[in-house]
Symmetry: C2
Subunit: 411 residues, 2 copies
Amino acid sequence: MIWLFNLSQEPISLINALFTATSAVCVTGLIVVDTGSDLTLMSQIVVMALIQLGGLGIMTAMTIVPFLMGQRIGIRQRFYFIKEKGLEYPSGAVKLLIQILKVTVLFEAIGFVPLFIKFSEEMSHKEALFTAAFHSISAFCNAGFSLFSNNLESYSNSFMIPGAIMFLVILGGLGFPFYMEWVSKAKSRKRLSPYAKLVLSTTSMLIIFGFLLILFVEWKGAFAEYNLPLKLWNALFMAVTPRTAGFDTISPSNFSKAGYIIVVLLMIIGASPASTGGGIKTTTAGILWCTVKSNLRGKKPFLFNQSISSDLIVNTTTLITLYLTTIFVSVVLLSLFEPFSFDQILFEVVSALGTVGLSLGITPHLSPTGKVVLVILMFWGRVGLITFMYGVFKKREKENINLPRAYIPIG
Amino acid sequence: MIWLFNLSQEPISLINALFTATSAVCVTGLIVVDTGSDLTLMSQIVVMALIQLGGLGIMTAMTIVPFLMGQRIGIRQRFYFIKEKGLEYPSGAVKLLIQILKVTVLFEAIGFVPLFIKFSEEMSHKEALFTAAFHSISAFCNAGFSLFSNNLESYSNSFMIPGAIMFLVILGGLGFPFYMEWVSKAKSRKRLSPYAKLVLSTTSMLIIFGFLLILFVEWKGAFAEYNLPLKLWNALFMAVTPRTAGFDTISPSNFSKAGYIIVVLLMIIGASPASTGGGIKTTTAGILWCTVKSNLRGKKPFLFNQSISSDLIVNTTTLITLYLTTIFVSVVLLSLFEPFSFDQILFEVVSALGTVGLSLGITPHLSPTGKVVLVILMFWGRVGLITFMYGVFKKREKENINLPRAYIPIG
Ligand SMILES: [K+]
Ligand SMILES: [K+]
């Protein structure tokens, strides 16, 4: 962090260096200095490295945390591949990291190709090489950092670059346990576990409904100037990125009030567990949805023909309550000493806690205290809350009764 | 409703008459016409009668609904007095209404005295008589209608009138089952049921913490001009009325952003079941709190040494999710065709759904469509959601296992 601070040629204050480093390592993407123009090449490389390390670290940590916390119930279901590959904590931690590294490099390399081709049309090969690598890493890690001052808003008229970014963002948001199960089950033609099915169905539904809603409310609003294919493509992009990539082709500050609140909801839900994304997680939202739906149909909570245990419902409720309470307390706190409007502050808090990185533009203008609050929110949203929850789950295990039930991790 | 429309001398549009009648019968208190100056005395009497009928009807209906819906589990706990007094649905419905009427008239008469004394200082005895009766009914029914154009804002410097209003509002918000249990157990010196304890503790905590928070955030804001005793008294008043009376001595539009969000939270929580107040209800919030707290301490959910059943947790989660979803959908809808800001719309929606009646001042300026949305919200918040939920509970009963568990109604 101090290194980043020293490397930059234009003077960056300590708080801004801390903020940038946190934002990178938590793969948030909120910025107080312009990554492209205010930072030197060396500092940009540091940011890129922090993003990559943050992304890898989070995927690894969040895959291992349940082991560390002694969560053995249902582990096999979530970590299907671990049994398959004979990985066991702690001896398996390094192997696991290598597996994650392989997957990451593979996906980032796939995304790199179209980005490099398109960027080469605008800049030298050398520049395009770095720009493509930076954006590929930033997209797969759901970081949302861009080397362009206006993020990807110059590409609202193109298809290839937003397309490659979406591909990386969605894959990055599915989570490592999901890929591994997908790959190994695709080979053996077995059915997916309820966990993998829930990840897949919730993610698809959120993308489809987010896309339709944003398209509808911004048709004559933020997308008014665009032709039909571009309307569709930008609506899809803006439905994918709030969970929790944070790239934008159309600034969310151009959105209507209705678009604003839809984006806020998507930011709160976020990506899937043990992925590079944040939020309450797709599985948490999926369990809530299935619980409410079964209950309203007069049935005990179930999901893909498996019952949802009451422990799981209590944990889901606890996680969501803690998440919303954090938002409430932070908005009250920031409201006390920041001059911005309620909707700007709410957006900023939700974006930081979900490590999204979208902003209505107030981030650089926050007071140092406000920036510190956001730094704490980014850490809490990224690792604090979930680790805390797993610590709690561990204590409860003694009381659990060993019934065969669907186990769905909610963080 | 048409009667009200015809009675008024100044022309009132059909939508405004519908809105006023709904607001009165749902004891909401949102207004599109000035009750004091735009309505004739006859219309004011109609509004007063609608409030009284609405209040009585809601208390009676919400006490009976569980019977109608065949909810027999735990009924004795909630409706302790019914067993005691040998009331049985349907023969007991009329007796029940008479009981409720007695309690209502008693409390309203107690509240009437100080109001009449103070109003007599400002107006003729005849006027004071009607004004005191109107405000006493409006306060006990948690309606929030006032004959003064600025609600009770002229009384921000006095103690007696806001005090009498608070007394009525708090009693009205505790709910009929609570008084009956309280009275009969005070006589026999038995301990209160978990239901009554939860109502009492949640209500006290909400008043105390609401008071302290509002006092703190508005100390140099909305309360800046007042001396210490008035600061305290107005903070207490503004902590009591958002749940869900809707009177104000200080307009919420003078509140800071932090004060705004605290008021929104209080409006969402609301009053106790089978009372004249709305919201998700104190017991629902209390169950959520106890569930999260027990879970975080590594224990199975419990409350006053009784376990909280998983059905109850599922119902609580369902109710809160439906409530928040209604707010979300309504805010998106109103955002599409109303020119007001996000925070004004959110406030209005939460106020209508919780039948609170506070407003940042946009109610009379809404489009007819917007007013219809609010009318639907008032009905849905008042009777729709809870009746719907009890219908659902009924279906589930078959599956319930008869274990001795704490039964806490959450609506
Ligand atoms: K991000
Ligand atoms: K009210």
